[in-house]
Amino acid sequence: MSSFLPRSEGPRPKLFMSHYSFDSHKQPHTRLIDTHPFNHTLQVFLPTHCSPAIHSTLVSRLLKNTFYYHAKVPLSLLLTPEFMQHARNGMIALSVDGGIDTHNIVCLDGNGSLVLALTKDTYEQLGLDGVPSKFSAKRQRYVVKIDLRAPAMVPKKPGFERVKWCFENTLVDKFSMLFASVDAEGNSLPIEFPSEISARKLTYDVDVTTLHDIVIPDTTRIRTIRHSNNSNNNNNSNVLQWRSNVSQLHEWIGMVAVGSPRVLLHDRIDPYLCVYNPPAQKKQTNAPPSQPSSSTGSLLRISGFLPAQAIQVIFQSLRNVLDDSASNVQWAHCCVWGFEDSPISWRDKEHQFLLSGENMYGFFLWSRHLVLSKKENQDRGVYVMLETVAALDEHQ
């Protein structure tokens, strides 16, 4: 019977942690946000009560002028001149019926590429050139990429005509899709649909939860990766220590996000039932050492079809909140979830669903007005970036 068990463990999801600074010339956070086109939820955790001032800074600008559409469209609609223009402007679209490993999924990434992730039957009948998917069983799924921004994609040219013929004759199914088009500042642009298609215009859902009596751990430990001068071994162990600290905090944020009672101050669960230990809290100078103190935190959640530009706007406002000395917020955590059934995770990277299709990223940010001890990293623009990548994903 042991011959039926798999020999190797198989691919696993990964968590990438990195440590950067806003003040350096490299801006990996911008690149990370911009290249992740499809996001469905953004969550911000603040270790204080979310005052109306903070709320308005973060959200008001967003809610003023943002919306997205949900419509059931045939693919030939995407080749009409209006939609081609939208695609050139950076419209994103994603079909939301069915899973990435079972159905045909269509998406338009913000760069004007139309990506079709198709089953074998659909691909053989479609008539457009594509490559087999890297992550599925051999030759069972195919990916077709059409660059709508290419100079050849103009009516009357043979390449365009062939694509149009295929969408009108061989793949005439309607796909239930979400559309969003934004300009550089994050304001949504309206999309006109033809009258026979009923498109719903939707806005983002904003949800604020205040959490009372939680024990907030100390995040200053992960601001610094200590570099000792002794030997390489020590350095490695410091990095490993840092990594374990980061993953503990990541787990704690996850507990808060699901609303687990383990983070509450008065939680007395039998260790037999739950082996979770929250990370240590910051040592208060006044209180006795083993007595945790309660604090308040708030979770702000925005859900919808969020394009990368909207995320950038919120990220920027979050940094403004942190840097504003009046708000007295020490640190914040920002987390963004991508769609589990999306054909691409980060731009041009193929994505599949094994046991889960997570493609999310998060940031730990600190205020610039922190009181830093000597041991800590004196750079005031430090942030920690976390990327959670699914098992079957090309992103590294």
């Binding site: 691909y123 053989e124 479609l126 008539g127 457009l128 050139d129 594509g130 295929c166 061989t170």
Partner: protein, 236 residues
């Protein structure tokens, strides 16, 4: 020779022995000396099986006959070669092999003949041929006949193929080989489409028939005698 014994029957009279010697012609029947003659007569008499007529056998079979007792002389080289030549000339003209066919372009359709409108009459002919076979029976029964039918002149479409660029090719079929269909499209292009890994559709009247190319890879002549069996999968 026997007629020479009866001068009234033979057309020619016998040459006298003197005239034969003068002309240098040997006697037509070699002279037998008496010893041989008596020996042979006696020998035959003893050799003949009991019950058969000894005298009669000798008279009919041996007297005045020439027997060759040794092996016949071998043909000389010249004679053998003559025979060979004759054989060569008479040999049937052998079929051309594939390389010769390609070089001579025997089966190619010339450029000026590659026009769609020229094949429309062929299509009409095929339709009337189909009507003859079809004769108003149900499509289900007709499928068996269609498998053996000749499709030259049918309007054929590729509906599904492992190679995406074949999908959608439509035209009148002008040549069918063991592994390919050659069709002429409306844009006057002659396309060679391999039967393998493709599925074709033929439209006839209001009925649409599907042909699975993978299982159809036989020569037209062979196909009429072929029994098509159910296959485990029709997947490409």
């Amino acid at each position: 020779m026997s007629n020479q014994d009866r001068p009234d029957l033979s057309l020619y009279s016998k040459l006298s022995e003197q005239d034969q010697d003068n002309a240098g012609i040997g006697p037509s029947v070699p002279r037998v000396d008496s010893e041989t003659g008596s020996f042979v007569r006696k020998y035959v008499g003893e050799a003949v099986v009991q019950g058969y007529d000894k005298e009669g056998t000798f008279n009919t079979k041996v007297k005045n006959k020439v027997f060759l007792l040794d092996n016949p002389a071998k043909d000389t080289n010249a004679a053998k070669e003559k025979v060979k030549e004759k054989k060569k000339r008479d040999r049937k003209a052998k079929a051309l092999n594939a390389r010769e066919k390609r070089n001579l372009k025997v089966y190619d359709i010339p450029q000026d003949a590659r026009q769609y409108i020229k094949y429309l009459p062929l299509h009409e002919l095929w339709k009337s041929y189909m009507n003859e076979i079809f004769g108003g029976s149900t499509p289900i029964a007709f499928v068996q006949k269609l498998l053996k039918a000749d499709l030259h002149g049918a309007c054929i479409t590729v509906t599904r193929s492992k190679c995406p660029s074949y999908v959608g090719q439509t035209g009148i079929m002008v040549q069918e080989t063991e592994q390919t269909f050659q069709i002429i499209t409306e844009k006057n292009a002659l396309r060679t489409i391999p039967k393998q890994n493709s599925i074709f559709c033929i439209r006839f009247g209001e009925n649409l028939f599907t042909i699975y190319g993978n299982h159809y890879r036989y020569r037209v002549a062979q196909r009429s005698a072929k029994k098509f069996k159910a296959k485990p999968t029709i997947d490409l």
